[in-house]
């Protein structure tokens, strides 16, 4: 019934259509970190009996709601604030994850839900029946928001503008509800009017066109008026306010860049490249940038490095750099390009549902890849693809798979497509951050596979089609039903592909999109001389977690003496062996050049190869057209040929990795040759350094000549006349710069027969530091010096400890003394002449931790803790925190673990909080099967509390806490806990509805039959009266009872009864009670909801039973309202009868409103 015409089956989950929203923030107080404003939503009912409007809102204190200027009652209920309500002894993660997914569902806008439920005043019912427009006006404020809106207020003298104080919106996925009430869905599009009144010295940057800036009457503030006429989802609305410096892009005047004071020269340099990215995307998409303007804002304490919103992007200020910085430049440009790609796909084109997210991430990632290829070259692109492929393969094999397009059957947990994971993938907000990162990675790789299948030309046509459809739809200002054309769906995308290309890509989609897992190939071969045939055997492992079976074509490239030949094998169910006929006779025709794949002909020394075989090397799936891992066996000389002569960088990198297992002089020579070859891709050469170090270590007893790479380095980078002194730095040639940086780091990994770093190497590195001279260099050498310190750290080997002596200065190893000398000087010099992004401090901290860990310096976290404090540069903090995390693990320190967890809860920077959990998860102090003194009940409780209620303001953080909990304790009840008093035997997955009924999402069906379920909305605990006292007794001591089997079975029985209004209400009441108890315990600190008395929602009072009670809620309603509103007091008067019964019945906490969450039992 909500279906709109001509929108390809997009069915709004809401009984109304939002067409326009006004957001007005008229006061921002940086001192108090508070925001006051209102929103006004223009909605058109799509059903006649619309009686309540559900919106999303978190953290906001809502003062007043009016619908068409009539006061409206509303209820605020957010089950995600505290996922498991009862202070249960339940501590198993399975239980939590189910409950959390249910809680998120319960407010999921894509299911038509929301935290805020507004009753349409009865006066308007007639109006609604005619489907006439409703204007919902909500006054709200935000006080010290913990998520969604981040304030950065440096504590120093001066006005807020002088201090560089700023505020910006942030969050993971749809998080706009954290800073204003809205329909926080990517699929509900509307036009926007945004107004921000800020201090005259500040600038407010937001979405759409800045129409005008007007002073307030006192001339001390000004109001920025923005209009966004392109229909946009609330989740793509953003804001940044600060004393920004403004730079109009000299190439594109509609593009404006903003940065914090003093950084303008950096901003100018950093953004000088952006226009080229614009040109590239517009050209390949044959489509103009969809918005009339674009803004980039660079802010401090960023949530993520890049966040894309409609017509603006928010970047971390740490991406800014001057022209002297080499290493950051490509990274920053990549961020800019990523942000811009998401402007087209992600902001302008939004998604229908969460399960369509992969299309957007895939397309934006794919066109970003095309930009990479054009900008950094094919080598860099292929290297990147390989890197991404390796990452996703490793992650899927570790965790059991990433599913791009989850389909959920009927909401039953049995059908959970990701049962191997410790979190639900049904919602973005329950997703582990790492999973989401890998999800994006897989999405763009799959897009590339589609391109392989249908050609790039068709691919770009499809994108162009999506964009032109959307831009036609966006210009339909008054036909909001057309706007759903701006939403992409999986089926729509696939349809477009089949229309444009005429090809059937269904098998590909089924394999990589509808199914999780990657392919694991094992390949080996034999050459049959008699038949002149290559017998290739390709096995698959499809039983391990995260794998899947691959059936279909597989390309194999064979380099023979006579040339390179491609073969397409059909991988089938039971065929393992594949015969590939060879073209060349094994008899080698001497003096003949060997033709390569790219047509080049080269001379090769063929003496190393097998005289009987014409095979030089074999590659399986060289184009990476399967998401796979290949373990292929071929002889060492074949890998060496592949490294030297194959022109594909991916093949070269594979060969290098394979050669690690062949520590022979021939491998050494091949690697050295590659290192010296200037035409070779610099990343391959860098990789060769590390492989050479490993080979040298394996060959240590037979190694001849100077340490590996030393003479090479001397030849390349040292003075001709005095080979022990390095040339003064000149980094004009970036390839050799990267090599110069990397070689010492790799050399430091060399070990002699005693497994120590050779003295010669250490002295060599120390000399590099000593003679480093950057005075004549155009570029900064901070990264180079940082890597020299990394090299020093790499040279450290475990201290020889006699009788566990205490580490003091006296027994300090003389080599270590030299190293410490350098580190001390570097670290101290950083205080006087700090390096860019404090790279040197970061390396010094890491090196000190290495010295501690190897027993040269007493293990002590205090230095790191001081560098981890708020106020240090973020990179330094992360490095220091990493050391503390490592210390916590090695020394099993409870104190440090507590210190870290406290920081997770209290640090002002969201990224740091997230990162601590991330680092603890990656380097955990203990894991679930490990005995550790740290693993105790208090820690379990603490972490449980953290994920249950302590992180409700930040989805990413909460999921991080879940990840950590999983790493430490696993899915089931932590082993360190005592057994529960009552042996609870229950299929939690099946019956979680009973255990945690407060948060069961209402089925969509409720929308269709609002009357039926809304009865129970009458909050409430007030309904108690209607039920017998005997039932009430059951509520006593819920906390202890609820675990018990008896309790559960009792309620299971009740639930199994046919759904009647009576039972509905009973459960509702029960829940209300539980909720209230929680609330009264004072653990939660929630924003009180407005004074407007809660009233019954049901439009038709169909249930005569309850009609008596309705008036309780209505009484004195109108009279009191104004008073309440102005004083913000939350008192209600009740008739005496209710008061006696339960004095807290109308406590205004959201908890009391919880009971509206009536479980839908009809299905």
């Amino acid at each position: 019934m909500n279906r709109k015409k001509g929108d390809k089956g997009f069915e709004s989950p809401r009984p109304y259509k939002l067409t326009h929203q006004v957001v007005c923030i008229n006061n921002i107080n940086f001192q108090r970190k508070s925001v006051v404003g209102y929103v006004e939503l223009t909605i058109f009912p799509t059903v006649a009996n619309l009686n309540r409007i559900k919106l999303n809102s978190k953290q906001c204190r809502i003062y007043r709601v009016r619908v068409n200027d009539l006061e409206a009652a509303f209820i605020y209920n957010d089950p995600t604030l505290e996922v498991c309500h009862h202070e249960s002894k339940q501590r198993n993660l399975n239980y939590f994850s189910n409950a959390y997914a249910a809680a998120v569902s319960a407010v999921d806008p894509d299911a038509g839900n929301g935290e805020l439920c507004i009753k349409v005043p009865s006066e308007l019912w007639k109006h609604v029946d005619e489907l006439k427009v409703l204007k919902v006006h909500i006054n709200f404020s935000l006080d010290q928001p913990k998520g969604g809106l981040h304030f950065v207020v440096p504590s120093m003298e001066g006005s807020m503008a002088e201090r560089g104080a700023h505020v910006f919106s942030c969050g993971y996925q749809n998080s706009t509800r954290f800073w204003f009430p809205c329909v926080d869905s990517y699929s509900e599009l509307c036009t926007w009017k945004l107004e921000y009144t800020v201090d005259a010295a500040m600038v407010a940057v937001s979405n759409g066109d800045l129409v005008e800036t007007v002073y307030t009457h006192d001339m001390r503030k000004k109001t920025f008026h923005y209009m966004l006429t392109i229909p946009t989802a609330a989740s793509n609305i953003s804001l940044a306010i600060g004393p920004f410096e403004i730079l109009v892009d000299p190439y594109m005047h509609e593009v404006t860049h903003f940065c914090l004071p003093q950084l303008l020269p950096l901003l100018k340099h950093t953004t000088s490249y952006l226009h080229e990215v614009f040109e590239f995307y517009e050209e390949i998409l044959t489509c103009r940038y969809p918005y009339s303007c674009f803004k980039t804002v660079f802010i401090d304490e960023a949530y993520v490095e890049v966040a894309a919103y409609a017509s603006m992007s928010i970047f971390s200020t740490n991406l800014l750099h001057s022209a002297m910085i080499i290493d950051e430049t490509p990274l920053t440009r990549r961020c800019l390009a990523q942000a811009l790609a998401q402007q087209f796909f992600g902001c302008f084109i939004s998604r229908m549902s969460w399960s369509d997210e992969w299309v957007l991430k895939g397309i934006s990632g794919y066109i970003y890849g095309l930009w990479m290829k054009k900008t950094f070259g094919v080598n860099e692109y292929r290297h990147w693809i390989k890197q991404e492929l390796d990452q996703i393969v490793a992650y899927e094999l570790k965790t059991g798979g990433v599913l791009l397009h989850p389909i959920f059957g009927g909401g039953k947990e049995k059908d959970n497509p990701a049962s191997h994971l410790h979190f639900s993938i049904k919602h973005p907000h329950t997703l582990s951050w790492e999973y989401y990162t890998m999800f994006q990675c897989k999405a763009h790789l799959v897009m590339r596979l589609i391109e392989n299948r249908i050609s790039m030309e068709f691919m770009l046509q499809v994108f162009n089609k999506l964009l032109s459809l959307a831009s036609t739809a966006s210009s339909q200002k008054f036909q909001s039903h057309m706007w759903s054309q701006m939403l992409v769906s999986t089926s729509g995308f696939l349809k477009s592909i089949s229309n444009v290309s005429g090809k059937d890509i269904q098998p590909l989609i089924k394999q990589w999109v509808d199914q999780s897992g990657v392919v694991k190939f094992y390949g080996s071969f034999a050459f049959n001389r008699k038949r002149n045939v290559l017998e290739l055997e390709i096995k698959q492992d499809y039983t391990s977690p995260g794998t899947q079976k691959y059936v279909g074509p597989l390309k194999v490239t064979v380099q023979e003496l006579d040339g390179s030949f491609n073969h397409t094998l059909q991988i089938e169910e039971n065929s393992l062996k594949h015969d590939i006929p060879c073209h060349s006779k094994s008899r080698r025709n001497k003096k003949k050049k060997i033709p390569l794949m790219n047509g080049e002909e080269v001379d090769m020394d063929l003496s190393a190869m097998d005289a009987d075989s014409p095979l030089l090397w074999i590659r399986i799936d060289p184009d990476m057209s399967v998401l796979r891992k290949v373990e292929f066996e071929q002889s060492d000389f074949m890998w060496q040929y592949q490294l030297r002569y194959e022109r594909d960088v991916v093949a070269q990198e594979e060969a290098i990795l394979a050669l690690e297992k062949f520590p022979t002089p021939a491998s050494r020579l091949a690697l050295t040759d590659i290192l010296e070859q200037e035409q070779c891709f610099y990343r391959v050469r860098m990789l060769a350094c590390f492989c050479l170090a490993k080979i040298a270590n394996s060959m240590v007893s037979t190694w001849t000549g100077p340490p590996a790479m030393k003479s090479l380095f001397t030849r390349m980078f040292c003075c001709k006349t005095c080979p022990n002194i390095v040339k003064t730095n000149n980094f004009m040639n970036f390839q050799s710069y990267f090599l110069q940086k990397t070689m010492p780091v790799a050399m430091a990994l060399l070990r002699d027969v005693h497994n120590l770093c050779p003295k010669e190497v250490l002295m060599f590195i120390l000399d590099l530091i000593k003679y480093n001279d950057n005075r004549k260099n155009k570029f900064s050498d901070n990264y180079y010096r940082a890597e020299l310190i990394d090299a020093l750290a790499n040279s450290v080997t475990p201290a020889v400890s006699v009788n566990n002596e205490v580490r003091t200065l006296d027994n300090l190893n003389p080599d270590v003394r030299l190293i410490l000398e350098e580190i001390t000087r570097f670290l101290n010099m950083e205080k006087l002449l700090p390096s860019y992004r404090h790279t040197i401090t970061v390396s010094c901290l890491k090196a000190i931790r290495v010295l501690q860990k190897n027993g040269h310096v007493p293990s002590d976290p205090s230095l790191f803790k001081s560098y981890a404090e708020y106020g240090h540069f973020v990179d330094v903090r992360i490095a220091a925190l990493e050391a503390v995390v490592d210390y916590t693990k090695v020394d099993r320190s409870y104190e440090e673990l507590q210190w870290l967890l406290t920081m997770v809860q209290n640090d002002p920077v969201p990224y740091i909080r997230h990162k601590i959990l991330d680092m603890l998860t990656k380097n955990p102090p203990f894991t679930k099967n490990m005995e550790s003194p740290l693993c105790n009940e208090a820690l379990v409780d603490q972490l449980w509390k953290l994920m249950n209620s302590g992180t409700s303001h930040d989805w990413r953080l909460r999921c991080g806490a879940v990840d950590l909990y999983f790493t430490l304790f696993g899915l089931s009840r932590p082993s360190c806990l005592p057994l529960p008093e009552l042996g609870l035997v229950l299929n939690l997955k099946e019956k979680k509805a009973v255990l945690n009924p407060t948060i069961i999402p209402e089925s969509v069906g409720n929308n269709q039959e609002p009357v039926n379920s809304t009865n129970s909305h009458g909050q409430s605990v007030g309904f108690q009266n209607t039920f017998s006292n005997s039932q009430e007794e059951e509520e006593i001591d819920m906390d202890t009872v609820h675990d018990s089997q008896a309790f559960i079975y009792h309620h299971l029985n009740m639930l199994e009864r046919p759904s009647t209004p009576g039972t509905n209400k009973f459960i509702g009441k029960m829940i209300g009670k539980i909720g209230w108890k929680e609330q009264s315990s004072g653990e939660m600190n929630m924003h009180p909801v407005s004074a407007a008395p809660l009233s019954v929602f049901s439009k038709e009072s169909n249930s005569s039973k309850h009609s008596d009670h309705h008036h309780h809620h209505h009484h004195e309603h109108k009279k009191k309202k104004k008073k309440h509103k102005h004083k913000h007091k939350h008192k209600h008067k009740h008739d005496s009868k209710e008061k006696e019964k339960d004095p807290f019945t109308f406590s205004n906490s959201p908890a009391s409103a919880r009971s509206i969450r009536s479980p839908s039992l009809s299905d």
Binding site: P154, S155, M156, A161, E162, A201, L210, V211, E212, V214, Y215, T216, M219, K222, P243, I246, L247, V248, H253, T256, Q262, L263, L264, L266, K268, H269, N318, H321, A323, M324, C722, I725, Y771, D773, N774, R775, N777, K778, S780, T808, L809, L820, T824, R825, N828, M829, K831, L832, S835, Y836, R837, V857, D860, S866, Y870, G871, H872, F873, V874, D875
Partner: protein, 290 residues
């Protein structure tokens, strides 16, 4: 001087005074006066002395302003101009026919500089400089004597020297900083061998982390000025506000407004840019409350 003393300084003062009187008298004679009252001569002498003192004082200020210790001709010229004197008339006046040449002032207690090691022949005065003016200095003090000794050019030695010098300076400096401030130590029992300057949080940590240090800025200018042109601040100015402008002044004047006026005045061609952030802030409309 009210007190009667006979110090050398006093003598010098009296001699100067006497010379000035002679000058005034000769000028009066030149102007056609036959005689003058003592009081009138005294007054004129006083005026002349003030005038000359002011020239000296002012010239000294000008020379010190440009970080020199010796006034040059141009300092005097500027001084005279500043005092309202038409400098161009001076040469003609100096060469006037009826001018009188005054005899050398009587030398009283002139400090005799010991005749130290004269080397070479002093240059004689040109004709227009009176003989009693000081002699030219010895030629060796201003004549260039090129030397041809081989400089230390051994590359290795130079690099070695530069490296150790820098290292010594750095070490000394950081040790000094560590000694004078708070420190941290890697060894509990020893705080002096590897003293680490204590980590101090910043109020605005990103500024030091992102902005090039002064040393780097200097290097940047030295290494390649032509290629660094893009980075210079001044180029930014026409387009948008400079750093100074953005200084959050508490006045009502808007930053943006300043900015637009700047961009308007500084280069006309940029007026074409129509960016909403460069537009002036509008005055509030006066709304009448109903």
């Amino acid at each position: 001087g009210s007190k009667h003393t006979t110090t050398p300084a006093d003598n010098y003062y009296l001699a100067r005074r006497r010379t000035l009187q002679v000058v005034v008298s000769s000028l009066l004679t030149e102007a056609g006066f036959e005689s003058a009252e003592k009081a009138a001569v005294e007054t004129l002498t006083e005026m002349l002395q003030s005038y000359i003192s002011e020239i000296g004082r002012s010239a000294k200020s000008y020379c010190e302003h440009t970080a020199r210790t010796q006034p040059t001709l141009s300092d005097i010229v500027v001084t005279l101009v500043e005092m309202g004197f038409n400098v161009e008339t001076l040469p003609a006046y100096a060469k006037r026919s009826q001018r009188m040449v005054i005899t050398a002032p009587p030398v009283t207690n002139q400090p005799v500089t010991p005749k130290a090691l004269t080397a070479g022949q002093n240059k004689p005065h040109p004709p227009h400089i009176p003989g009693h003016f000081p002699e030219f200095p010895d030629p060796h003090t201003y004549i260039k004597t090129p030397t041809y000794r081989e400089p230390v050019s051994d590359y290795q030695v130079l690099r070695e020297k530069a490296a150790s010098q820098r290292r010594d300076v750095e070490r000394a400096l950081t040790r000094f900083m560590a000694k004078t401030g708070e420190t941290q130590s890697l060894f509990k029992d020893d705080v002096s061998t590897f003293p680490l300057i204590a980590a101090r949080p910043f109020t605005v940590p990103y500024l030091t982390a992102l902005l090039p240090s002064e040393l780097e800025m200097q290097q940047m200018e030295e290494t390649d000025s032509s290629e660094q042109d893009d980075q210079t601040d001044t180029e930014n100015l026409p387009l948008h506000m400079s750093t100074d402008d953005s200084g959050p002044e508490k006045e009502n004047a808007s930053v943006l407004q300043q900015n637009t006026s700047l961009s308007g005045s500084r280069n006309g061609e940029e007026n074409m840019i129509d960016n909403p952030y460069l537009r002036p802030v509008k005055k509030p409309k006066i709304r009448r409350k109903k």
